[in-house]
Amino acid sequence: MSRIKGCFEQLKKDNKKALVPYVAAGDPNPEITLDLMHSMVESGADIIELGVPFSDPMADGPVIQKASERALIYGTSLTDVLGIIKNFRETNNKTPVVLMGYLNPIEVMGYDKFASMASDAGVDGVLTVDIPPEEAETYIPALREFDLDPIFLLSPTTTKERMKLICQYASGFIYYVAVKGVTGTSALDTAAVAKRLEIIKEITDLPVGVGFGIKNAETASAIGQVAEAVVVGSALVNLVEQNAHALSNEDANKKIIKEISQVLSSMRTALDA
């Protein structure tokens, strides 16, 4: 069984919702990411979404754009990100890791080579923002061959027809984008999200995670009422940005890890309440 599937089954048994933090790998420096991943798990993360930095992140708002830029100053590549995950797996064989990024770095590596390396590193799912299933004729089989879950987005503009198509190819979980817009948007309408999730639930038995616009324990808890997983990204990356310019990387990393852990703990408490 895939780690992601196992994770959701266990959560269901425990009557709990998944907390899924997103951070960009290598942000604000390559040293932080491994420690940050472990500390996020200690603070209540069930699944980790790790952003692969890309020069042209067209689906991301300013907060995650800057995260990519900071990571790219150190040249953090897809290969580097896989290396970090391999290290993470040395002491954590339980927490699922999902890569989130754009197609071109994967395209350049080659789908088969990527899938083989990602699987070897201990990746569980891959969410590539700019590849719809229509273009994924060779991408999806490459992931499946190595037991990686292809994770796809559904959005407020996705028709029921497309939902069916997408759910046919997706595994692991479905990621519902809560708002029309880029990451880090402010206005999230919980009632509207709940209504869309009802439609999605008619179509698929896969767990649904909701992201884009979850800012704090309160929105996390509200979304936790209607979805199986809550994805939080920009709110955490903001904390990276605020501390990125500390005197030393060591200083910055300590503060970032501490503040992100606090936010995740509060979200965990709210979700479990």
Binding site: F54, S55, D56, P57, M58, A59, D60, G61, P62, Q65, K66, E69, L72, G75, S77, L78, T79, Y102, L103, N104, P105, I106, E107, V108, M109, V129, D130, I131, P132, E134, E135, F152, L153, L154, S155, P156, T157, T158, T159, R162, I166, V177, K180, G181, V182, T185
Partner: protein, 409 residues
């Protein structure tokens, strides 16, 4: 519009793309999920209105009376004689309203936006030519217009920024990434994804997700259709070669497309070699890049070995883009078109050559095509014919040229 032929053997090159926007392995739709539905809506509108006689009549009327079409096909007699080879004809897109071919496309897309009931227009721009052409037609229809422009480019192209403002557009400075055209395109996509209900995104070149490459081509193909009729009138036969500069490639595909099934016509696309292909400091993805995925389509790109898009350089801001329209990538791979590159220095010489021999001051973009014609024409016979697309006029570049020549105003 492309139509499917029943018989595979009858399939023509001009039948591309397929219904999902593929030119062979290139093109397609590589966008976040939220844009899939708006792109489908756009595709349907484009297919519908291209077959609607009322729409075509309105478009033709605007092209004639507002843009000033047809543009002349001018025999550059003196320049041809000096080069001592083929007869060179210039397709005078520089004489269009706003001074370049860009307006053919913005007039067309704006009419589509109007028919689709969109009230807010967004665009990206590099040098500012497409931004100006968009702001111009938006002013005419009284639509809100927002133009995204890299902060670097805003500094380099202050005059065009002011022109857009005079036309009532809001110019938004893009501070992310390399702060140039590619980042402006990213930002426009982000705006579109956020405001899809009332917003129409006018992409300026034959790139981006389907249907943009095909749609922009179809709006620009008026260049090649006219040129074909005009050369038949002048010479009674088709040309031997076509030459056009390539950034995203919209002026080039506009000239090439109506000739694409005429296999005796050679096709040359001229990219910007900047400081030289060997220096890496250029904007020539077809000559020196690799296939990848950016801005919604698969195409040749300037990228590093990890798939990150790398900075480009050209003296001509309009060619300074790391990608290229997917149809060009396909034409390159199947060998139908030849893609070459000329340096900044060669283009500047082309600028001066044409100005001095013909009294026509070309845009620095078009000067790349000129520089290649000066190489190509002498290798051809005197009874052979070249049509070169003079895609824009050079007034906007006078400051750049003067600075390079060491002149201060």
């Amino acid at each position: 519009m492309t139509t499917q032929t029943q018989d595979q053997s009858e399939k023509k090159l001009s039948d591309m793309p397929d219904e999902n926007g593929h030119f062979g392995q290139y093109g397609g739709i590589f966008v976040p999920e939220t844009l899939m539905e708006p792109l489908d809506e756009l595709k349907k509108a484009y297919i519908h209105f291209f077959e609607d006689p009322d729409f075509i009549a309105e478009l033709d009327s605007d092209l004639a009376n507002y843009v000033g079409r047809p543009s002349p096909l001018y025999f550059a007699e003196r320049w041809s004689r000096e080069l001592g080879g083929a007869k060179i004809y210039l397709k005078r897109e520089d004489l269009n309203h706003t001074g370049a071919h860009k307006v053919n496309n913005t007039v067309g897309q704006m009419l589509l936006a109007k028919r689709m009931g969109k009230t807010r227009i967004i665009a990206e721009t590099g040098a500012g030519q497409h931004g100006v052409a968009t702001a111009t037609v938006a002013a005419r229809l009284g639509l809100e217009c927002i133009v995204y422009m890299g902060a670097e480019d805003i500094q380099r192209q202050a005059l065009n920024v002011y022109r857009m403002k005079l036309l009532g557009a809001k110019v938004v400075s893009v501070e992310s990434g390399s702060r140039t055209l590619k980042d402006a395109l990213n930002e426009a996509m982000r705006d579109w994804v956020t405001n899809i209900d009332n917003t129409f995104y006018i992409i300026g070149t034959a790139a981006g997700p389907h249907p943009y490459p095909a749609m922009v081509r179809d709006f620009q193909a008026v260049i090649g259709r006219e040129a074909k009729e005009q050369i038949m009138a002048h010479e009674g036969r088709l040309p031997d070669a076509l030459v056009a500069c390539i950034g995203g490639g919209s002026n080039a595909i506009g000239l090439f497309y109506p000739f694409i099934d005429d296999m005796d016509v050679s096709i040359y696309g001229v990219e910007a070699a900047g400081h030289g292909l060997e220096t890496g400091d250029h904007a020539a993805p077809l000559c020196a890049g690799k296939p990848g995925v950016l801005h919604g389509n698969r195409t040749y790109l300037m990228e590093d070995r990890h798939g990150q898009i790398i900075p480009t350089h050209s003296v001509s801001a309009g060619l300074d883009y790391p990608g290229v329209g997917p149809e060009h990538s396909w034409l390159k791979d199947i060998g139908r078109a030849n893609y070459v590159a000329v340096t900044d220095e060669e283009a500047l010489k082309g600028f001066h050559d044409l100005t001095l021999t013909e009294g026509i001051m070309p845009a620095l973009e078009s000067s790349h095509a000129i520089a290649y014609v000066t190489k190509l024409a002498p290798t051809m016979d005197k009874d052979q014919i070249i049509i070169m697309n003079l895609s824009g006029r050079g007034d906007k570049d006078i400051h750049t040229v003067a600075t390079i020549d060491g002149i201060e105003f």
